[in-house]
């Protein structure tokens, strides 16, 4: 059975709860740099997808390091806090920053973004679902993307819908064979590594 490897980057303001992969705790430990997690997802069709998730630090100071972590990403999850409008407002900036630093730019209007609103367990919502969908639509039109950015809402505390965004990415994002052939530019180092790791672990194959 083929196994796909996807690099996913989580971005968003500090404190929105990008640590959705970790056990929820109020004992807050800020991310310094970026945390690395892997997630193995087996889809209904038997396809196995391995997600390599970079949970990046939210504080502004750490953004200049983004380039090290964004490079070669296959998907990006934009995180915001539904109880904090500022975090939602900053998403456009985060998105732009990501595209610039990852070296994607306008070359790939279909780069898969996912919108994820966190903390829906808190009863002080200020960002509505409609607003989130509006953001998604707006950016789809701007970039001329064929697929509208999907929106998810989750509660890391209660563990609601946390997996949905990852599942969606595992289902929909595929590295086209073409892209693998045309190794170069931003993703090269990672893809080269993929090739090497395939050699080592024969069970593995991209796509």
């Amino acid at each position: 059975m083929g196994k796909q490897l996807l690099k996913v980057v989580l971005i968003g303001d500090g404190g929105v709860g990008k640590f959705i992969h970790k056990r929820f705790t109020n004992a807050y430990k800020a991310t310094i740099g970026a945390d690395f997690i892997t997630k193995e997802i087996e889809l209904e069709d038997g396809r196995r997808v391995s997600l390599q998730i970079w949970d990046t630090a939210g504080q502004e100071r750490f953004q200049s390091l983004g380039i090290a972590f964004y490079r070669g990403a296959d998907a990006c999850i934009l995180c915001y806090d539904v109880t904090n409008y500022l975090t939602f407002e900053h998403l456009a900036k985060w998105r732009r920053e990501f595209l610039n630093q990852a070296g994607i730019g306008d070359s790939n209007p279909d780069f898969p973004f996912v919108l994820l609103g966190n903390k829906i367990d808190i009863d002080e919502r200020v960002v509505s679902r409609r607003q989130a969908r509006g953001f998604a639509q707006e950016h789809s039109t701007v970039t001329g993307s064929k697929v509208e950015m999907p929106c998810f809402e989750a509660s890391a505390k209660d563990g609601i819908h946390v997996e949905d965004a990852f599942l969606y990415i595992a289902k929909t994002v595929r590295i086209p064979q073409m892209e693998l052939d045309m190794v170069g530019g931003s993703g090269s180092s990672r893809l080269e590594w993929d090739a090497e790791s395939e050699r080592r672990k024969k069970s593995r194959s991209c796509c």
Partner: protein, 547 residues
């Protein structure tokens, strides 16, 4: 974590008695220094600069709902866990860019009454000697709900932490508050706030502020975004230097990581930014800092042992790294396994020697095997692959007994030698327990990398295991004339043996850095200007420099 915290917590203190001796709280009144009214025997010079003392609004901005006459009760509350110490800075992290100070987070903790009630509850509920937080911290510091725990005593520690970080950010607008600074402040504050000496403890906030300030004078560039791409300072250059050091020492491993696409930023960014505080337990952090801070006047920058140690951490996991793939490696390096740090320290010492003395004295060729060959026979690096767990210390011979306070003084001269042995000479030692070193070991007059010669981790383990494996390393090393005054630093030695030793260690640290402490030594009066240098006096350095 919790039983450790328990052992270290100070015994309950008679608040009434304290009431009569202590006057104004560092918490209570922003306009007063915590030192007012103290009968300091040594003409104590306040570490707080006049600009702070004379600007009450800086502090009262935070403390305006606190009665000026209130007791600094928090000085006696234990800090249950490291995590709880940092919990309250969360709101600083939550602000994007951390520009605003959110007053609401301070409100709940001000209700002294409710804390007193809880405190009485503690006393009623618990038996003699043990503070309840030490025996069952989870009861009080559960992660469940912030609001219900905001009035706990440790929250007063949190306020002190917040004030320190807040004032630091205000005094250094170019740096501000950056996530991770709390991690550096934590070990300093923890140590000082657990000082067995009440007077010292009362100054914990001020002293940890200045120690933090001095430490940051050297490491703050790591927190400045505009220096990230700078060639000579900033985190980017530091990471690059560490990476080249790793390459220099173990090219094969370096190449292996490089081939897998593992950028050094993936792991060493956090290591170096927060000075390993997120990777190791606090006692280990003290031990590591001890070596790092002693590494001054070297070939490259001061405190470059930091990079030696970081490289050693990578090398320590060599076998696993070489055999793992990208994901395995990054996960392993990011979640550093709970290992015994002693082999890493030894390896770091080797790397440092290589750096200082040049490559001639060492063979850096490394093989695929677990054996790392280094030409100097007296250092056997097999131990750094043993990955000995902390438990192995418990099996160490218990022939050494803790020395009493009197012996401390008598064995001072020996302390230097002990330290040498600890750090440099492993010949003839039991590799399963490298800390136990026979007295017959030939001495070396090299510069030890330990500032104090005091092994924190062993202390710590000894404290917790209950076994008496503490050897003569307990001796506080006294390399500088100023530290003679440590002999006078007898406060609380009998009643709090463990913490007293930490305090002694740190007393030296303090005197070297800030000129504080119970010292009448006229060499250290007042505050060394933190702007000009991270002040480790030249004298001991000269004495310790490698010939």
């Amino acid at each position: 974590m919790s039983p450790r915290a328990g052992k270290k917590a100070e015994k309950p203190v008679d608040t009434e008695q304290w009431h009569s001796t202590i006057f104004s709280s560092p918490v209570g009144s922003g306009s007063e220094t915590p030192l007012n009214g103290f009968n300091t025997p040594n003409n104590y010079t306040s570490p707080i600069p006049s600009r702070l003392r004379d600007t009450p609004d800086v502090l009262s901005e935070i403390d305006n709902d606190e009665e000026p006459t209130s007791l600094p009760d928090y000085l006696f509350s234990p800090i249950p866990t490291r995590r709880s110490l940092f919990k309250r800075v969360a709101h600083l992290n939550q602000d994007f860019g951390s520009r605003q100070h959110q007053p609401h987070s301070l409100q709940a903790s001000k209700s002294k009454d409710s804390w007193k009630k809880k405190k009485q509850g503690f006393k009623g509920g618990e038996n003699s000697g043990d503070l309840p937080l030490s025996t069952s911290p989870d009861r009080y510091v559960s992660d469940s709900d912030d609001s219900t725990h905001d009035d706990l005593p440790q929250d007063l520690h949190w306020e002190a932490i917040e004030r320190i970080l807040f004032i630091y950010a205000k005094l250094n607008p170019g740096v501000g508050y950056v996530q991770g600074m709390n991690e550096i402040l934590g070990p300093l504050y923890y140590l000082l706030a657990n000082d067995p000496d009440e007077v010292s403890r009362a100054h914990a906030e001020a002293e940890s502020f200045w120690l933090f300030h001095l430490l940051m004078a050297h490491f703050r560039d790591h927190f400045v975004r505009s220096l990230d791409r700078d060639r000579t300072s900033g985190i980017g250059s530091t990471i690059a230097r560490m990476n080249s050091r790793l390459r220099q020492f173990d090219e094969h491993l370096w190449k292996n990581l490089e081939d897998k696409g593992i950028a050094p930023e993936y792991y060493s960014f956090r290591w170096l930014t927060v000075l390993f505080t997120q990777e190791f337990e606090v006692p280990d952090v003290w031990r590591i800092w001890d070596s790092v801070l002693a590494d001054t006047g070297g070939v490259e920058k001061d405190y470059d042992f930091l990079l030696d140690f970081g490289s050693a951490m990578v090398c320590h996991l060599r076998t696993d790294l070489v055999n793992g793939d990208f994901a395995d490696n990054v996960k392993l390096l990011q979640n550093y396994p709970p290992v015994d740090i002693q082999p890493i320290l030894h390896l770091a010492t080797v790397i440092r020697e290589l750096r200082v003395n040049g490559s001639s004295s060492y063979s850096t060729t490394t093989k695929e095997t677990r054996d790392i060959t280094v030409s100097r026979p007296s250092i056997d690096l097999r131990i750094w692959n043993t990955r000995s767990s902390v438990n192995e210390y418990h099996a160490a011979p218990s022939g050494f007994e803790r020395q009493g306070p009197q012996d401390m003084k008598a064995s001072t001269i020996d302390g230097v030698q002990n330290s040498d042995r600890l750090d440099h000479n492993l010949e003839g030692t039991d590799h399963r327990s490298p800390l136990v070193i026979p007295r017959s070991t030939p001495l070396k007059k090299e510069r030890p990398l330990s500032m104090s010669g005091l092994d924190m981790s062993e202390m710590w383990l000894n404290t917790n295991s209950g076994s008496s494996i503490t050897s003569d390393m307990l001796n506080v090393r006294q390399p500088s004339p100023s530290s003679l005054s440590v002999d006078n630093y007898t406060v609380g030695k009998d009643s709090h043996p463990q913490t007293a030793t930490w305090a002694e260690t740190f007393a030296q640290f303090k005197m070297r850095f800030v000129g504080l402490g119970s010292s009448t030594d006229d060499k250290f009066e007042g505050v060394i200007n933190p702007e000009t240098q991270v002040a480790v006096p030249d004298e001991p350095i000269g004495a310790l420099s490698p010939s």
